[in-house]
């Protein structure tokens, strides 16, 4: 592999791109800020939403006929798994609180906590 100091035209081209990327990105962003672009994007977004709804329903029916789950059903399963994770998180929190309560009520040696006495180092004059 060519070293960094070698005259590698591909490396030089990549370095040129990295250096000039910001300029080109700014030019592209400028174009995207144009009202015509906003209009096109807005229209595209609305059409996409409409199409997504239309095709989603039709495709859902088609997949149901094939005995396959639709995206909406997969997302629903994901939501249910996430809900179970959230419930587990709550149980973990409750368990932690119970553990702390039972530790304070028994003669078992308490967990050694760090002391809160640290002071900021004094700055040199």
């Amino acid at each position: 592999m060519a070293g960094k100091d070698d005259l590698d035209p591909m490396r030089m081209m990549r370095e040129w791109f990295v250096k000039s990327e910001q300029m080109y990105s700014e030019a592209m962003t400028e174009v995207m800020g144009d009202e015509r672009f906003s209009k096109t994007t807005g229209r595209y977004m609305q059409e996409t939403l409409h199409m997504q709804k239309m095709f989603g329903e039709a495709m859902g029916q088609y997949l149901a006929n094939l005995n396959l789950p639709s995206r909406a059903e997969v997302v629903e399963i994901k939501e249910r798994v996430t809900s179970i994770e959230a419930t587990l998180d709550s149980i973990l929190v409750e368990m932690r609180a119970l553990r702390a309560q039972s530790a304070s009520g028994t003669s078992a040696a308490p967990k050694k906590n760090p002391v809160r006495t640290k002071k900021a180092p004094v700055k040199d004059a």
Binding site: R14, F17, V18, S38, M45, K53, A86, V93, R96, V115
Partner: protein, 367 residues
């Protein structure tokens, strides 16, 4: 029978050849491109967010973690890191030696973090008030109860900073003793591209939210990429130029993983952020309301620090520079670091220049 045996024999020899070829290619790559030798094969091998932590509170999308202290003597006031509701918290704990959390723990701080979970459909109505007042407020109370200390240092990143200033401005008597914000937007006019899109009559934010409920990460990624469309390509070329550098390759992959690992935006919060905050610029005009209270940043009087990045394209200088002037604190400071939105919290400049300054600023106010 013998034909079968030949077939099996043929299969085995083909497999052996495949395995040998794979091994030779791997060795050749490792010999010639050292960076690829340690390339993780799965995302799990990237190891992010490795500091030891415990979940202590969970409500809606809020997850409050307490990191296990690493030293025997710590500062009295705990630190609560507040992540952006759009980003995963592991950017603050990217890897050993590249973790703000680890740095704070080693410096003797007691560290907590609010790391938001991905909102589900049932969370579509969570608003700015839900995040900034209800959930953040509850987490602060939990930190106070868990640490046994009456006050807290709040450190917010990006939109987490926005939540923090909104909370403190509407709860000036809160347990917050110090407030530090990283690259926090306050001026919607400074987010030029989003403002142009939102003021266009063709862009119907209400419909987008009503149809989707929760804005998916793909839309968020696309809108963020629009702010600097070729940045990702440039980063990939940078990777190619540094592929013989193990550490660069690993750090790059971690950053890349985090950059695309965004969280969805609850519809109500997205609407408030895009319409009230960006389009109508209500925070600057002192018209933004949370739970019926106007957010006036001059109500913030606790010691305040704002850290901004000079090349931040996500929260550009124009959208964050007014913050320091709007805050009412007498003890306030702004640090501008050379770098971008992400490298600000985990890049080389952050590790060697920013973190020591941040630690010093908090330490001096943490006893």
């Amino acid at each position: 029978m013998s034909a079968n045996a030949e077939h099996v024999e043929g299969d085995i020899s083909q497999k052996a050849i495949d395995a040998r070829v794979t091994e030779v290619i791997k060795k050749a790559i490792q010999r010639n491109i050292p960076g690829l030798a340690s390339l993780p094969e799965t995302e799990a091998q990237l190891e992010v967010g490795t500091s030891d932590k415990e979940l202590i509170y969970s409500q809606d999308t809020a997850r409050l973690y307490h990191y296990t202290p690493l030293v025997d003597e710590i500062y009295r006031v705990p630190i609560l890191l507040v992540m952006s509701p759009l980003a995963r918290g592991y950017i603050m704990d990217l890897a050993k030696g590249q973790s703000l959390v680890e740095y704070f723990l080693k410096a003797g701080h007691d560290v907590y973090m609010i790391d938001w979970a991905a909102p589900q459909k049932k969370h579509k109505d969570l608003s700015l008030s839900s995040y900034a007042c209800d959930m953040l407020g509850d987490c602060i109370d939990k930190v106070v109860a868990d640490s046994g200390e009456p006050d807290v240092s709040l450190v917010g990143y990006c939109m987490g900073g926005l939540l923090s200033v909104c909370y403190q401005a509407t709860h000036p008597d809160s347990p917050v003793k110090n407030l530090a914000c990283f690259t926090t937007p306050v001026n919607g006019d400074g987010m030029v591209l989003y403002k142009k899109w939102l003021t266009s009559k063709s862009f119907d934010m209400d419909r987008l939210v009503d149809e989707l409920g929760v804005i998916p990460t793909e839309i968020i990624n696309m809108s963020m990429q629009a702010l600097r469309p070729l940045h990702k390509n440039a980063n990939q070329l940078k990777l190619l130029n540094n592929v013989d550098n193990d550490e660069f390759v690993k750090a790059h992959l971690r950053f890349e993983r985090w950059a695309v690992d965004q969280l969805p935006f609850p519809g109500a919060l997205a609407k408030e952020f895009m319409i009230d905050f960006v389009r109508d610029n209500k925070l600057i005009k002192k018209e933004l309301e949370l739970n019926g209270t106007i957010v006036d940043l001059s109500n913030i009087t606790v010691p305040f620090l704002h850290v901004a990045a000079s090349f931040d394209h996500i929260v550009p200088e124009a959208s964050s520079k007014d913050l320091i002037g709007m805050v009412g604190s007498e003890d306030k400071k702004e640090i501008i670091v050379r770098g971008g939105h992400v490298s600000l919290v985990a890049g080389g400049n952050a590790i060697y220049r920013l973190w020591p300054q941040l630690d010093q600023w908090i330490s001096e106010r943490a006893d």
